[in-house]
Symmetry: C2
Subunit: 413 residues, 2 copies
């Protein structure tokens, strides 16, 4: 773990309200880190609806396999998350570890193993000794409390320098429902997704099918639009649970994601997902600056996203940002290498509000001093207009610093 | 420019023989760097055959456009290369600069502008003042000498820490012919290709069409199999010229690349291209270690190359190598994110001769100490067997160090 908190960390944490129907507990099992919590258990006292989005890695972790398999059953009663070990590329031992954890959690809660969801984050390829925490799940299930979100976020941190929490509310059927979420980063963060874990819970009554549709649609411009280092993890997991506790207050269950009653909820959920995703980027390993890359005028939205990600993943663009250098030549390079249609002589590039290049050459009016002032800020907006169509996309990344190299050159040893 | 020479630099330079039919001169025009040569001119006193391979960037530089256009004519009389400014994304001014340079060189040599080839490397987006060197091309054309290869290589350096030269010979029709090459890196090095310039000249008599076929086939496993930072330049240029001077010694012109008389030449050329390409990687910005990634057992050779490049371009793999950490979990991650078919439980991974993972888990017999000894060397061979087919590829990269960030966070300013 890095010693210092990211300079881009939030200045304060929101007060996280209790969500009826979910309780949490943490434990310090000593999986890798000493003197800190590294296991989180969430318990739903009544069956909760569940949705999930996972890594597109062809070599996913054992917990990802486990969750994907269980998702078909559509019911969640418990979630167990550990940090310090990803239980990825651990073969038969990895499956044994997920089986033991699921069995122990199911016994502790009094449910089926199919209703238990698992996630692990940390080093890849080392066997996870699940006996270290399987024995304490019974106590954790009993002692869980609803007022524990910040602690939960802390327990799942790896190289994160701050815990990530967010909360929103929305009204369905005249009833106010709450959405709380936690997340962890902070390396191997790339679209599709990252060593990124995030767990979002609402007290709304929404079916698993509708939740899944909301979540799948919501990730495109949030968690799947952030990149720290272009490396996709084996373990990325984003899950959304609905306890349905709001039914007791008069909210009728919604089972169709296109139901207009979900409009406000959808907006609140997407806003929360974006909040958490940006917190992950702002804690990117070694990050000192946040970059928002917007591409307009591409052939299509999909092409715009490919170009935006080519810019956001370019080591040369990211080191230039670290050096506070408005090096738009490297932006041109990244547009060119994306493979998407682009015409050099139609490109225009802005840093903040300053147009530095237009019509295939440096903007004659651009002020180096004003541009430098933009680059010296913490948040750097970059916009590229391709000049060919109406495609548009925004992605977020951070700069590439010596600290990134230090953190990742010295992680496992 | 980085002050210190790469620790991976060659211990000595080969003695570069003169190649009949080509003369070179350099000049210090002060384009960007002070007190060093930054313009190279090559002159072919008789028309030479010519072939070229260029960047796949959608926003290529003005000189790349110029060369592509001229290549159809199949004759070279002069090459002008400058460092310090890439003349890329320079719009109409960029075209004017190439036109002026080609015109001045054609006048100096007494040939058509169609027979002049150009390349520029350095910063992108700044107008290139070609008047700085257009005036001296006449003197350069007159004063050129054949014994000037190392000086030529020095004149085209940007952030390179050492000049890159290579020489080979082969026999055609019982006549020994020579192939000399120079190249420069060292950032924006990625397949398809890099801010990589390379000029190769032979005295063999080979038609332009045959040269082009040889060159296009030769780049796949050489220049298009190296990556420093995954960033593809706007300016990548690899050209091959044949003066035909060996005809005077009895070699008959070869006009078909599949002619068996070219077998030895082809092997020598490919060996030279690989030599130069690896020299580029060994001078990767900030590089302290060279990594050779071999993927076997993939579905196809193409799939193997995609997986190998996913490994070689991963910042997490490259920082682990910098930290001398045999972090094979990150290799698994990179295999998984490549998108190619892979089965976690069939993967095997070696560092050097040490198998660290097999059948989806850590190899029980692997010695951490022996693996650390491998990682402490300058040259790190990594092999991954996918276990699915016969596809095979090898690519080369370097580690990602704090020096890379320092060099690129402080380049333009």
């Amino acid at each position: 773990m890095s010693a210092a908190v990211s300079p881009l960390a939030p200045k304060s944490y929101p007060s996280m309200p209790v969500i009826e129907g979910v309780r949490m507990a943490t434990a310090a099992a000593g999986i890798k880190y000493k003197n800190r919590t590294d296991v989180l258990m969430m318990v739903f006292d009544k069956p909760a609806a569940v949705a999930g989005v996972f890594t597109r890695s062809r070599c996913p972790s054992a917990p990802v396999d486990h969750c994907r398999r269980n998702l078909g059953h559509g019911i969640a009663r418990a979630v167990v998350v550990n940090s310090g070990n990803a239980n990825a590329f651990t073969g038969a031992k990895g499956v044994a570890a997920t089986d033991l954890t699921a069995k122990s959690a199911a016994e502790a809660v009094g449910c089926s193993e199919r209703e238990v969801y698992l996630a692990s984050t940390g080093v890849i390829g080392e066997p996870l000794d699940a006996t270290k925490f399987a024995g304490v799940l019974g106590t954790m299930a009993k002692d869980g409390t609803g007022d524990f979100w910040l602690e939960a976020a802390k327990a799942i941190m790896t190289t994160d320098t701050y815990p990530k929490v967010a909360t929103r509310s929305a009204v369905i059927d005249g009833v106010t429902v709450t959405i709380n979420g936690i997340a962890k980063g902070a390396g191997m963060i790339a679209p599709d997704m990252a060593t990124m874990l995030s767990f979002v819970v609402t007290d709304a009554a929404i079916s698993s099918a509708a939740l899944q549709a909301l979540l799948s649609a919501g990730v495109g411009s949030t968690f799947n639009a952030v990149t720290v280092d272009s490396d996709t993890s084996t373990s990325d997991t984003l899950m959304l649970f609905a306890t349905g506790a709001a039914e007791a207050r008069g909210q009728k269950q919604v089972s169709d994601a296109s139901d207009a009653r979900l409009d406000a909820f959808r907006a609140a959920l997407n806003d929360l997902l974006k909040d958490l995703a940006l917190q992950v980027v702002r804690d990117g390993e070694g990050a000192r600056k946040m970059v928002e890359v917007t591409v307009t005028g591409a052939e299509s939205d999909a092409a715009a996203k490919v170009i935006a990600l080519s810019i956001a993943n370019s080591p040369l663009v990211k080191t230039a940002v670290a050096g506070e250098d408005a090096n738009w030549g490297r932006i041109v390079m990244a547009v060119g290498k994306s493979g998407e249609l682009a015409d050099r002589d139609r490109l225009a590039i802005w840093f903040g509000d300053i147009r530095v290049a237009v019509n295939g050459a440096r903007d004659p009016d651009y002020s180096e001093a004003a541009t430098t002032a933009v680059m010296q800020k913490e948040d750097i907006p970059v916009r590229v207009d391709i000049g060919l169509g109406n495609g548009r996309a925004t992605v977020w990344t951070c700069d590439l610093t010596k600290e990134y190299v230090a953190i990742n050159g010295d992680y496992r040893s």
